[in-house]
Point group: C2
DNA sequence: TTAATTACTACTAAAAGGGTAGTATTAGTA
DNA sequence: TACTAATACTACCCTTTTAGTAGTAATTAA
């Protein structure tokens, strides 16, 4: 039940783009340096995010990436779904024909509930929320420094 | 974010044992045949379940496995935790020292909430609950047959 | 025209997933 | 005491996934 680095890195890419929403594109190189992740690897993660309409690219020199909608309209669920390919803990939840015992499988009911909770939880957090919480944390750190 | 077959099969083993609670041990062979899973594979899953005190074995001829506590006291969380080794979607949630950025990482907060929801959901379902739901389903199927 | 950027394709090493196989140990029973 | 049916333990193995690396092509601002 571990998320891959794809979702984790993806969330960090998106949060960085959210910080720059309406302020022009950002180079992947910059994000890679800031977040200390390989630029080549990030360039692969960006593809499904683009395919899902979460961001768009400007090619060529002075290009970069930008969110394609407001941070308030993009949730962590969108990001994870784009990068993991699915959200459900077992296949038969999203695709009942994957198992012939689906009809009277009580265990499956648990997995289905779990899926709903996961989806609900991730959908309840938008990039805007993350941004606010990030700014709060940074402010707190700032105060600490001043107190010294 | 997929559960491995270990948890899924494990839940089915445990549910079968719950059905026979206080009625003596069951052979793994029987469970394997009933659930259509390799007996050799199941024999590996049983080890962590035993290590976590969820069941115990009787060795030798006429041996088998039994739950070591009442079905009402064993939850799906216990089973998944025993078989997956962990419940958290990212390592830094259970083990903060895994990442140096833990302090002011807003993304991590989402993973932490997710972890709590997953734990809460799986803990809310006991083997007894599963048993009841299974019996309900079987009764419904029975009625359908009678109606024909 | 050049330099900086994204886009695309191929490859790879390591780990995890999902088992199989064989032997050792234990214990009920004839 | 054998025999047999069960669990216990150890080792191995194939396939898929993960987490990248590498190189080249296409695009475009300056």
């Amino acid at each position: 039940m571990r998320l891959s680095t794809r979702s984790r890195y993806g969330a960090r890419i998106m949060l960085r783009l959210a910080q720059n929403y309406n302020k022009g594109p950002i180079f992947l190189k910059e994000i890679a340096q800031n977040e200390d992740i390989s630029e080549k690897y990030l360039s692969q993660l960006v593809i499904p995010l683009k395919a899902h309409g979460l961001l768009f690219a400007l090619r060529g020199a002075q290009g970069g990436y930008q969110l394609s909608k407001s941070p308030s309209k993009i949730t962590v669920k969108d990001i994870v779904q784009a990068l993991e390919g699915h959200l459900s803990p077992v296949e038969c939840v999203e695709n009942p024909s994957a198992c012939s015992k689906v009809e009277n499988c009580s265990v499956r009911d648990v997995w289905e509930t779990l899926y709903e909770k996961i989806a609900e939880t991730l959908e309840s957090v938008s990039l805007e929320d993350l941004l606010e919480s990030k700014e709060m944390k940074e402010q707190l750190t700032g105060i600490k420094i001043c107190e010294k």
